[in-house]
């Protein structure tokens, strides 16, 4: 079992990750607000707002996947595994996650190559290298592997299934 101190550290990191996620979401929201205000109040649309919003959107999704949304909170099919006895349940859950982690692990070098290659190209308006705009995807891929490993080692409470907020 993990010690108290490392649990406290994990909690503090999770809180910071949440704050950063909130910040990125605020950037997404504000760039759209600026877009509307520039066009209607000043009659001068800015080209960068749409691009910043698109980058922030990519970051919100993969920052969340990497650092703020635990695996069991994602949308999942919940009517097969709970029918088994607790031990079988743990084994089946771990098996699925092992395959998931294996696939992502396999793809990591290819993803890294792609991002390195995209360092040569820049976004049209802000001229940000795509390798930076997209870098959060790599973080998410690594974190999926680590999260799977952690969930196999320390399974989340099987009684609490992941029901998430969505459309």
């Amino acid at each position: 079992m993990r010690s108290n101190r490392s649990t406290r550290l994990a909690e503090r990191l999770a809180r910071w990750a949440d704050l950063v996620g909130a910040g990125i979401f605020a950037v997404l929201f504000l760039s759209l607000v600026v877009q509307v205000v520039r066009r209607f109040v000043f009659g001068a649309p800015a080209a960068w707002t749409e691009e910043l919003a698109a980058i922030a959107f990519v970051w919100v999704i993969f920052w969340g996947t990497a650092f703020t949304v635990p695996l069991h909170v994602h949308v999942a099919v919940d009517f097969v595994v709970p029918r088994f006895a607790p031990f079988a349940r743990r084994v089946l859950y771990a098996l699925g996650l092992a395959v998931l982690a294996g696939c992502f692990l396999w793809a990591l070098p290819g993803i890294a190559d792609y991002l390195r290659f995209m360092g040569r190209e820049r976004t049209p308006v802000l001229e940000l290298p795509y390798s930076i705009a997209y870098s959060v995807f790599f973080a998410a891929a690594i974190m999926v592997v680590l999260r799977c490993a952690a969930a196999i080692a320390f399974p989340p409470d099987p009684a609490r299934s992941g029901e998430s907020e969505k459309a």
Partner: protein, 432 residues
């Protein structure tokens, strides 16, 4: 179908059935496909990232999520409840009717059924089950059923997703949902009239007419939100994405400055919540991008179109088959996955048969909202069962008449396309 495609399906279905996250399971399936066919693994990243970066309309989704979270953190649900109560409380089974009417009003501001259920839905459950006036399971069932109106009356997150895969106009889809949404409300109100008589549900003391203008004024500012939102889209002033951001801004100004129901700390937590929900929906969208890339490579949609063509169905028979198929799939899969993976497979058939894509979209979304109520995978059931502490089994028993009523409306709008298309046509939409 190639062996590689079979492997992709096996990886996806395998991980998903073992309770792995669905969105990540789709990406893993795509990776397995690329690996076996000897393609560059970077393609997985490229497909996902470039599609996300290029789909500006998708950014409406996080904005609608944010707007709904702001409204639920403010006192909006209570205000809407008070207004609906003033009108409907006086009838037999009045509080249940209030529940449906409040959902209709709220759905003009929110595009998500879950937001409707956890906001006004929970307020109404508490009011209905206070002093044991209504069986709690019945209260939960009414809240769950009426929450399905949320994404039918505009705005609507599922319809934005449908617009993304079909290329149909978001504005036309939104308007197309108005009449079906009102029909759903009417059907549920009839079920309540029938149940209230049979089980002798109570009436509320009528609110004096003199008090109604005051209650209306307290709700006036939130009621203006649909006007801003839809007026902006239909006058061509805003894109749907901008309109969603303006709606969120409007809700934020009301909650922060007018009602002072939200402080800065609350705002940060609403932002963090919205970011997490966006990631949850977004990762399924990403999985669908890579899945659809593989489906296109394997020419699966064309094969399905050929398969349907050989069945020689007319447009109506096709819609009927699709409805039955989705009612079953809706019990097993979630809305976003169905919309982004199954619907693109059927679109070429719909086009070939001359089915109007706006009509098709509204029918599909109504169908999927029924899927939110049907076990074993009924998200509204789980959420409300958890929040209200009522077993799913009891809710389902009370839900059955409502589900029957919703299915009746579904078939009505399937057979009478004008119920969907008349309003968009008034606003200038042409059937191709």
């Amino acid at each position: 179908m190639s062996a590689a495609f079979g492997l992709m399906l096996a990886v996806f279905v395998g991980i998903a059935l073992l309770r792995g996250p669905i969105g990540l399971a789709m990406i893993a399936g795509g990776i397995a496909y690329l690996a076996v066919t000897g393609q560059d693994m970077g393609l997985a990243a490229e497909q996902i990232l470039n599609s996300l970066f290029g789909s500006f309309v998708l950014i409406a989704v996080p904005m609608f999520i944010f707007a709904a979270n702001v409204m639920n953190a403010g006192t909006l649900s209570e205000r809407i409840y008070a207004l609906a109560h003033a009108f409907m409380g006086r009838f037999r089974g009045g509080l249940a009717q209030v529940n449906v009417l409040a959902s209709v009003i709220f759905s003009g501001m929110s595009g998500s059924a879950i937001a409707d259920a956890v906001g006004p839905g929970m307020v109404e459950i508490e009011m209905m089950s206070k002093d044991g006036r209504y069986p709690r399971a019945f209260a939960v069932a009414v809240s769950a059923a009426s929450a399905t109106i949320g994404p039918i009356i505009p705005p609507s997150i599922p319809m934005v997703l449908y617009a993304l895969v079909s290329g149909a106009s978001v504005g036309a889809l939104f308007l197309g949902g108005v009449v079906p949404g009102l029909l759903m409300a009417a059907a549920m109100m009839l079920v309540i009239v029938w149940t209230a008589r049979r089980r002798n549900f109570p009436m509320e003391a009528p609110v004096p007419w003199a008090e109604i203008p005051g209650i209306f004024i307290r709700t006036l500012l939130p009621l203006l939100m649909p006007v801003v939102l839809l007026g902006g889209i239909y006058s061509g002033v805003f894109t749907p994405t901008e309109a969603a951001a303006v709606a969120a801004l409007y809700a934020l100004v009301l909650a922060l400055f007018v009602y002072r129901a939200l402080d800065w700390k609350g705002l940060v937590s609403v932002l963090a919540d919205s970011a997490r929900s966006t990631a949850v929906v977004g990762i399924i969208i990403c999985g669908a991008f890579i899945f659809n890339y593989v489906l296109a490579t394997e020419q699966i949609p064309a094969r399905i179109a050929d398969g349907f063509a050989s069945l020689d169905l007319g447009p109506l028979a096709f819609l009927l088959v699709v409805n039955l198929l989705f009612l079953v799939l809706g019990c097993l899969l979630d809305t976003t996955t169905l919309l982004l993976v199954m619907v693109p497979l059927l679109l070429p058939v719909a086009k070939a048969l001359g089915v109007d894509l706006v009509h098709f979209g509204v029918v599909i979304v109504v169908n999927m909202m029924i899927g939110l109520l049907t076990p074993p995978y009924g998200v509204l059931l789980f959420v409300l069962s958890g929040l209200a502490g009522v077993p799913v089994k009891d809710i389902v028993r009370e839900l059955l008449p409502f589900i029957a009523a919703l299915i009746a409306v579904l078939f009505l709008i399937t057979f009478v396309p004008s119920l969907v298309l008349a309003l968009p046509e008034l606003a200038g939409y042409f059937r191709p």
